[in-house]
């Protein structure tokens, strides 16, 4: 039988390990998850905001959550985050149908991952398409990952980019950066 203590003991045997207080605070979040590995809550308040509505499924492995992370799972949706992933501060994951994040991902701060078209939490004119993020993906800060994005393994998503389609394994993707449009007189 797999109980809370064996989960955390297993976590200490694996790779990245955080401080005991982080795991202790992470245990406060376990109630909202359908199934969770060794959760860690790092670096302080505000507390990660996990909204499950008790009819969605949030499944997490050994995940580290920074402050102000929001995971919202609508009824009937499935949000799964793999082992070893960390989700940096103020990131917002909104699952209308399905979002699955792979193992050992590094999600930076202020990222929005949603399987809708990003028009908010109310209505969704476009319809939800599942989002699949592979393993060892590095998502830069302030990126926006919209519905229908299928990201392969070992991908680097540059900061500030808007990702919608398929991203091949091992690619580095970016939106066109700023360029000169005029001069200050």
């Amino acid at each position: 039988m797999r109980n809370v203590f064996s989960v955390y003991r297993q976590r200490f045997a694996k790779g990245r390990v955080y401080s005991p207080i982080a795991y202790f605070c992470g245990a406060l979040l376990r109630r909202r998850f359908t199934d969770a590995g060794a959760l860690a809550w790092l670096r302080g308040s505000p507390m990660p905001n996990i909204r499950n509505d008790h009819r969605g499924t949030i499944v997490a492995g050994d995940v580290a959550l920074y402050p102000d992370v929001t995971l919202i799972c609508r009824p009937g949706a499935r949000l799964s985050v793999g082992d070893g992933t960390y989700i940096n501060r103020n990131t917002f994951l909104f699952a209308e149908k399905e979002i699955s994040v792979g193992e050992d991902c590094m999600i930076s701060w202020d990222v929005i991952i949603t399987d809708t078209d990003g028009f908010g939490e109310e209505r969704n004119p476009g319809g939800a398409r599942p989002v699949k993020i592979g393993d060892r993906v590095w998502i830069g800060s302030k990126a926006v990952i919209l519905g229908g994005a299928v990201i392969g393994d070992n991908v680097v998503v540059a900061g500030g980019s808007v990702v919608t389609g398929e991203v091949a394994t091992g690619a580095i993707v970016a939106t066109r950066p700023a360029h000169e449009i005029g001069r200050v007189e």
């Binding site: 302030k142 991908v155 540059a158 990702v163 690619a171 993707v173 200050v184």
Partner: protein, 168 residues
């Protein structure tokens, strides 16, 4: 538990306010009214929203509009948002450049957003923009010119620029 008192406090900052609905979450919406006019009808403000009306600015939002989390509306001259709009997360709507630079004086131009407009997350609507009724602004776009009614506009989407080297 004291949400209705906090909503009363928000409504007090406005010149006119309908039924404001604030879903659960933090931080509570902030309305900063520095001598301007804020006219809200019955709208829904998600947590993290900020409405800022500078001196002489007019900020009007129509019935049934929903402002997503982290949206900021900055009105130094006039920002008017229509009815039943759907505004996504972290959208910035401003009718000003907020400060002069070099020899250029500060220019404020009104922003008018029509009814039933859908604005995607992380969009930026800059000064002087008129968005027609029913338009759709895709996520991550920066809108500097007018948008025709019932049209769809968007910015760039991420493209592959390189590959990760096999060793690292």
């Amino acid at each position: 538990m004291f949400d209705f008192l906090k909503i009363r406090r928000l409504a007090r900052r406005c010149q006119s306010a309908g039924r404001l609905d604030v879903p659960r979450g933090h931080p509570w919406p902030a309305i900063k009214n520095e001598g301007g006019q804020i006219h809200l009808e019955s709208i829904r403000l998600y947590p993290g929203t900020r409405l800022w009306a500078h001196k002489g600015g007019v900020l009007a939002i129509g019935n049934g509009t929903v402002l997503g989390r982290g949206t900021e509306i900055i009105a130094w001259e006039k920002v008017q948002i229509g009815r039943n709009c759907l505004i996504g997360w972290d959208v910035v709507v401003m009718d000003t450049d907020l400060h002069p630079i070099g020899n250029r004086p500060l220019k404020n131009k009104p922003v008018v957003i029509g009814d039933k407009v859908c604005i995607g997350c992380r969009s930026i609507i800059l000064k002087g923009v008129t968005i027609g009724e029913g338009a759709v602004v895709a996520a991550g776009s920066i809108v500097t010119k007018d948008v025709r009614p019932w049209s769809k506009v968007g910015g760039e989407i991420a493209k592959e620029i390189a590959r990760v080297k096999a060793g690292g």
